[in-house]
């Protein structure tokens, strides 16, 4: 198999040189730097959020830094719930100190004294270990005289809480229903105070940009997609697991390395992402210039029914829809009924076009990313595998 074009990297999981009594040498260096210079670094690095949406991290921090409120917050979004995603699990288990360091760097930049990690309830098992690392982090940070504290909070099994404003509602003890945006969290976030919320992997990247320097960081990736990315590889693959790869690869190179020789489709970005059929592997770039992903890469071989795949996703969305807005609450149910009716033959195949129009409406009118992104997998599966939807 030819996998020469795939570049494995070690930025995220690479060893973090620790010293016996000062485990965070990076922090001392950083807190003595001008926050504006650090934000400039992050902007120049081209780093985009690793949770999936890909907002430029440096800009987000700049907006938050410019808020004049004295109370601000940092949140690490560890509510990784996208089907087929598990890369944050490995980052949290293997390099938690890099996450905390990234959060501390952010706190210095925007002048926040409090940070939170919102850990999905499904990862409660790692809480004792994380709290232990956090304790030693707090000890190190106290030694430098810097004032910043992190608390780990748990989710309770709601996918929509990965949406940043739902997550904040949840932290405030409410139902995890998304808020209207604007105002964005950098203006009114947790407790209506300016808040930077970033993905686990984004914070690690920030720490590594400070450690390696911008020049070194930008050597990886493409103009639109700088750096490396941690991928969660699952499905019909001989090598399931977590892999860190340079951004901007061709999907065909990825499939050559991780496929089982019979890959029919790859779902890039989980249930809310896109399903790419075999004929498009060659011209699909994984990155912000092509098909972006929060990391989920699910491979399906020719034995799999794409109807079953879509049906599973729709059940998932219908169940996890918070029910607040009509397009998502009713739309998901209609899609489930609709594909069943076409499969059974009680509706003819033209009905799929009506369903596609429905997903278009959901994309425009749903309140949050959950309802808006149902269209992605629905459109890409229904149009690429129409024959499988019909019988």
């Amino acid at each position: 198999m030819n996998s020469n074009n795939l570049k494995k990297t070690d930025v995220i999981f690479g060893i973090w040189p620790c010293m016996e009594d000062n485990k965070y040498p990076i922090l001392e260096a950083v807190i003595n730097r001008n926050p504006d210079d650090i934000i400039k670094d992050i902007i120049n690095s081209g780093l985009k959020g690793r949770g999936g949406a890909g907002f430029p991290t440096g800009l987000k921090w700049k907006f938050a830094a410019s808020q004049t409120e004295s109370e601000k917050y940092i949140i690490c979004n560890a509510d990784e719930g996208e089907p087929g995603t598990f890369k944050d699990r490995e980052i949290l288990l293997k390099v938690p100190e890099k996450i905390f360091a990234g959060m501390a760097i952010c706190s210095h930049c925007i002048k926040a004294k409090k940070g939170f990690v919102y850990l999905r309830g499904e990862y409660k098992f790692m809480l004792p270990q994380l709290n232990k690392v956090l304790e030693s982090f707090h000890e190190s940070i106290r030694k430098t005289g810097y004032d910043f504290e992190i608390k780990i909070l748990l989710g309770s099994g709601a996918y929509v809480c990965g949406e940043e404003t739902s997550l904040m509602e949840s932290m405030e003890g409410k139902r995890g229903e998304p808020r209207n945006k604007p105002p964005f969290p950098v203006v009114e976030g947790f407790n209506n105070k300016p808040t930077v919320i970033n993905n686990v992997e984004t914070f690690v990247n920030v720490a590594m940009i400070q450690k390696l320097g911008v020049a070194e960081f930008v050597k990886l990736g493409t103009d639109d997609s700088r750096g490396s990315k941690v991928f969660s590889v699952s499905g019909d693959t001989p090598k399931p697991g977590v892999f860190e790869l340079e951004l901007g690869m061709k999907l065909s190179d990825f499939v050559a390395e991780y496929g089982d020789g019979d890959t029919k489709a790859v779902q890039v970005g989980g249930a809310s992402g896109f399903c790419v059929p075999r004929k498009r592997f060659e011209d699909t770039i994984i990155g912000f210039e092509g098909v972006p992903t929060g990391g989920s890469m699910m491979l399906f071989n020719s034995t799999r029914s794409m109807y079953n795949v879509l049906s599973n996703y729709l059940d998932f969305f219908a169940e996890e829809s918070c029910g607040q807005c009509t397009p998502c609450r009713v739309g998901c149910q209609q899609l489930i009924q609709g594909i069943k009716a076409v499969k059974k033959g009680s509706k003819n195949e033209d009905y799929l076009d009506s369903l596609l129009k429905l997903t278009e409406s959901m994309k425009i009118t749903a309140k949050c990313g959950l309802g808006q992104s149902v269209a992605n997998s629905f459109y890409s599966i229904v149009t690429n595998f129409k024959e499988e939807m019909i019988y």
């Binding site: 309770s156 932290m171 003890g173 139902r175 407790n191 590889v233 699910m298 998932f316």
Partner: protein, 154 residues
């Protein structure tokens, strides 16, 4: 004073009585009592000085904050598409056989509840399940029976 009253009071003392402490208190009650009884939710409302409807509103939103009776060990089998592809069906069947209940039910001795749940973050090692907070991965029907036997004798 009832046991639940004491428990909720202790938890409110520990976590606080502001709205942001509601999730941690609800989570801690579920950890102690397996699920949220009406009594517990009323006690929480009293301690927090909010209506019981507010407490139920939050609790009922989250799938891990059960408001229906649950056993001591809540089994949640992952039902993602990858889990389905890797043999989830056989795992459910094995669990239903060994526990003699169907998905959604609790054993008469109130020890086990069997549920399905969305992706729990182990797609590289499916089939998988959680028993309370502990994940079990790369499951086979045989493995599942052994795990249940172990928990039964706990």
């Amino acid at each position: 004073m009832t046991e639940t009253h004491e428990l909720v009071k202790q938890l409110a003392d520990k976590y606080g009585r502001d709205r942001a402490s509601l999730m941690p208190v609800l989570q801690a009650v579920v950890e102690k009592q397996n699920y949220l009884t009406e009594e517990a939710m009323n006690e929480i409302a009293d301690q927090f000085g909010i209506s019981a409807a507010q407490v139920f509103g939050t609790a009922s939103f989250y799938s891990f904050l059960d408001t229906e009776a649950r056993g001591k060990y809540v089994i949640r089998v992952c039902k993602s598409i990858i889990a389905e592809m890797k043999g989830k069906k056989a795992i459910i069947k094995a669990l239903e056989n060994v526990l003699k209940i169907s998905v959604g039910q609790t054993t008469p001795d109130k020890k086990f509840t069997l549920l399905e749940t969305n992706d729990i973050g182990w797609s590289d090692q499916e089939p998988s399940m959680l028993i309370n907070e502990t994940p079990f991965t790369n499951l086979t029907p045989e493995k599942v029976i052994n795990i249940i036997n172990e928990y039964s004798s706990k």
